[in-house]
C-alpha cells in the first residue's frame, strides 16, 4: 500500500504521488439517502486534488486498491453488513448518512473528516 511518507512535497500544481491512491468506492443502493452521496465523493476528490494528491476511484471490487470507502446514504448502513470484513487487510471507511464512526456530523464536514482519516491511515 502506498503511504504518505512515500509522497514527496512538490511545487504547486504538481502531484506528489506518481501512482494514484486507488480507492474502491461502494455506494449503497440509495433508496432514501439523507445525504447527497455523489456530492460527498466529489468534494472528497477535490480535497485530494487540492493537496496535489492523485486519486482514482474504482467501482470494481476485483482490482487491488489502497482503501475501501462505503458510502451509505443513511444510518442503517446497508453496506456494512457484507463489507466490514476484518479478514481483509484493506483499510475500510464507512459513512452512515450524516454520520461517520456513528457520530453525527454535518454533510459539509463529512468529506473533510473522511479525507483526514484517510491521510492518517496513509501516513
Amino acid at each position: 500500500m502506498q503511504t504518505e511518507s512515500d509522497l514527496p512535497d512538490m511545487p504547486d500544481g504538481q502531484c506528489r504521488n506518481e501512482r494514484p491512491i486507488m480507492i474502491h468506492l461502494k455506494y449503497c443502493g440509495g433508496c432514501n439517502p439523507e445525504i447527497d452521496r455523489p456530492a460527498v465523493v466529489k468534494r472528497l476528490e477535490e480535497l485530494f486534488l487540492s493537496n496535489n494528491l492523485k486519486v482514482e476511484f474504482d467501482f470494481n471490487s476485483n482490482r487491488n486498491t489502497d482503501l475501501l470507502i462505503l458510502v451509505n446514504g443513511c444510518p442503517h448502513a446497508c453496506l456494512e453488513k457484507d463489507n466490514m470484513n476484518s479478514a481483509t487487510m484493506t483499510p475500510c471507511f464507512s459513512i452512515q448518512g450524516a454520520m461517520i464512526d456513528y457520530r453525527p456530523v454535518t454533510e459539509e464536514e463529512l468529506p473533510v473528516i473522511l479525507y483526514e482519516k484517510i491521510l492518517t491511515i496513509l501516513s
Binding site: N32, P33, E34, C74, P75, H76, A77, E80, Q96, D101, Y102, R103
Partner: protein, 508 residues
C-alpha cells in the same frame, strides 16, 4: 446467573418493603393484594416464557457483558436481529396476556441510558457509562424488573422545569455531595411500578442550562427510603374484587397497573447516578428512549389485537354469523390494520442502526410512524370489535345474577347462541371484549410512549422534506435529471426542443 420463573419473580417481590397506597389505604402486601395480582401475573409471564422451549429463542438473549443467557428484558440490543426479536417478544406477550406486560419500559430505559451515557462520557470525560454497565450487569445477573420512570407531573406546561412555581413538578436534584445526590419530585403514570424491583428514572424532556438540576437519571431499588407509590384507578377495576367473569380478563387485567411515584429526599449513591446536570443530553436521551418504546407498540398492541380479533370471531360464530359477509369484512379490516402496525414495528427494527456505544437503535422516523398509527388504529379495530360483538358487551347481567337460583336460568336462556355453544362461555368472551375495548386500553394506546403530537414533531423533524422537494423538482424538469439525459442520450433541453419539433410535424 439465574433466569427467574414466574413463581420465582412473584416470590422475589415479597422481599421488598414498598410504601404503596390505594383507595385510601396503605397496602401491607403487594403480592397478596387482589387488586394487584392480575398485573403481577402479567409481569410474571415475561419470566415464565423465558423457560418455555417454545419461546426461549425470542425471550432470552446472550449478554454482551458476560456471554451468559439472560432474559431479553434485561438485554442491550447489539444487532438488527436483537431489535427484531424484541418486537416479536412484544407481540408474543400481548397474545399471551391480552394486556400490557409492563416490563418493556425498563428495557427501553436500559437501552437509552446505555447509548447516551457512552456519548456523555465521550464528550465530557465522565464515567457514567462504566457505572451504568455495572448496574446493567446487576440487573442481568439477578434478572430484575425495572420500572422505567420518565414522565414528570409537569405542572404548567408552558413553563420550563426551572420556571415552575412548584419545583416538584419535575423530579430534580436538591443536593449533591461526595456520596451521591438527594432527589425530590415525582414521576407519574409509571407502568408496573409497584411490582418492579428497581426504578430507573429518566428526564422527561429536553432541558436548557437553567434546568440542569432537573437533568437527572438514576436507578434505585423500589423500597428505597423516601419513595411512596399511589396506585391508579382504572375503568371497572374493582370488578376483579367482585367476580372473575365480570372482570373480563381476571388473570391479567387491563393495561399495566400504573402508579404515581413520589420521591421525598431520596438519596441516590453516585454509583447509581447516570446523569446529573448534563442538560444538553436530555433531548437525546428522551428521543432514544421514546424511539425504542414507540417501536414496541406495533408489537404489543398487535398481540392484543390478535386476542380481540379472535374474540370477535368467536362471538360472531357463537351467534351463527361468522360467515356473514359484513362480519368477514370487519374482521378483515381489523386484521389489515393490525398487520400494518406490525409491519411498521418490524420495519423500524430492520432499519435500525448501530450507535457509538456499539448498541443498536431503531429507525426513529419509522418508530414514530408505528406509534402514530397505533394511536388511531387501535381505536378503529376496537370499534369494529364493538360492532361485531353487539350491545351485549355493555348490558350483560353480573355473574352474581347469572348464578342466582330462580333468575339465573332465565338469564341463561336469554343469552343463548347457536346450538352447542355453552352460554357461560358466551358471557366470558363478551366480558373479554368489553375489558379490552371499553376500558383503559384505549387512552393507553393514545398516550403511552407519548401522545400523537410528540410523534408528529419527531416525524416532521426527520422527514427529509428538502430531499423530497429535490425529487419533485427533478421530475418536474426544474432540476437536471441526469438519469433521463443518459436514457435519451442528450441534454434535456435539446431533447425537448427536438420533441417539440416532432410534435409540430406530426399530422393531426
Amino acid at each position: 446467573m439465574a433466569l427467574m420463573t414466574g413463581r420465582d419473580y412473584i416470590e422475589s417481590l415479597r422481599e421488598l418493603q414498598l410504601e404503596v397506597y390505594f383507595m385510601g389505604e396503605k397496602i401491607t402486601s403487594v403480592v397478596d393484594e387482589p387488586m394487584f395480582q392480575p398485573h403481577i401475573n402479567t409481569a410474571a409471564m415475561t419470566y415464565e416464557l423465558a423457560h418455555d422451549p417454545q419461546h426461549q429463542e425470542i425471550m432470552t438473549a446472550t449478554s454482551h457483558l458476560t456471554g451468559e443467557k439472560i432474559n431479553r428484558f434485561t438485554h442491550v440490543h447489539h444487532s438488527i436481529d436483537d431489535l427484531v426479536k424484541k418486537v416479536r417478544m412484544m407481540r408474543l406477550l400481548g397474545q399471551k396476556t391480552g394486556t400490557c406486560f409492563q416490563r418493556c419500559v425498563g428495557l427501553d430505559a436500559l437501552n437509552a441510558l446505555y447509548a447516551t451515557t457512552y456519548e456523555i462520557d465521550e464528550k465530557n470525560g465522565t464515567t457514567y457509562h462504566e457505572r451504568f454497565k455495572k448496574h446493567l450487569r446487576h440487573m442481568q445477573e439477578k434478572d430484575l424488573m425495572s420500572a422505567g420512570a420518565m414522565t414528570d407531573p409537569r405542572g404548567d406546561r408552558s413553563r420550563r422545569p426551572s420556571e415552575q412555581k412548584n419545583p416538584n413538578a419535575y423530579l430534580h436534584i436538591s443536593k449533591k455531595d461526595n456520596d451521591g445526590i438527594i432527589v425530590n419530585g415525582a414521576k407519574a403514570h409509571i407502568t408496573g411500578a409497584i411490582n418492579s424491583h428497581e426504578i430507573i428514572a429518566l428526564p422527561t424532556r429536553a432541558m436548557g442550562e437553567n434546568d440542569s438540576d432537573f437533568a437527572v437519571a438514576f436507578a434505585v431499588p423500589v423500597d428505597t427510603k423516601g419513595i411512596k407509590f399511589v396506585f391508579a384507578r382504572q375503568t371497572n377495576d374493582t370488578r376483579r374484587l367482585e367476580s372473575p367473569m365480570d372482570a373480563g380478563n381476571p388473570k391479567y387485567a387491563i393495561v399495566g397497573g400504573e402508579a404515581l411515584i413520589i420521591f421525598k429526599d431520596v438519596f441516590v449513591p453516585w454509583e447509581r447516578v447516570f446523569m446529573a446536570g448534563e442538560y444538553e443530553f436530555c433531548g437525546q436521551l428522551v428521543e432514544t428512549f421514546a424511539g425504542h418504546h414507540r417501536a414496541n407498540y406495533g408489537g404489543c398492541k398487535v398481540g392484543l389485537s390478535d386476542v380481540v380479533i379472535g374474540a370477535s370471531h368467536w362471538v360472531a360464530d357463537a351467534h351463527g354469523v361468522a360467515k356473514a359477509s359484513h362480519i368477514i369484512d370487519k374482521l378483515t379490516e381489523m386484521i389489515a390494520m393490525a398487520e400494518t402496525c406490525w409491519s411498521c414495528s418490524l420495519a423500524c427494527s430492520y432499519e435500525g442502526r448501530k450507535t457509538q456505544s456499539g448498541s443498536y437503535n431503531i429507525n426513529p422516523l419509522l418508530a414514530n410512524v408505528t406509534k402514530l398509527n397505533i394511536t388511531r388504529m387501535v381505536y378503529e379495530w376496537m370499534r369494529l370489535s364493538h360492532d361485531i360483538a353487539g350491545g351485549k358487551i355493555i348490558t350483560l347481567p353480573s355473574e352474581s345474577d347469572i348464578n342466582l337460583p330462580g333468575i339465573g336460568e332465565v338469564i341463561t336462556e336469554c343469552f343463548e347462541g347457536k346450538e352447542g355453544v355453552i352460554v357461560n362461555d358466551i358471557f366470558k368472551m363478551l366480558r373479554l371484549v368489553e375489558n379490552m375495548s371499553v376500558g383503559a386500553g384505549l387512552p393507553e394506546a393514545m398516550h403511552g410512549a407519548g401522545s400523537p403530537a410528540a410523534q408528529k414533531i419527531m416525524i416532521a423533524r426527520r422527514s427529509g422534506i428538502e430531499r423530497k422537494r429535490e425529487l419533485a423538482e427533478t421530475i418536474a424538469g426544474i432540476r437536471t435529471d441526469e438519469n433521463f439525459e443518459k436514457i435519451v442520450g442528450k441534454p434535456e433541453e435539446e431533447y425537448w426542443q427536438e420533441t417539440k419539433e416532432k410534435i409540430k410535424l406530426k399530422p393531426r
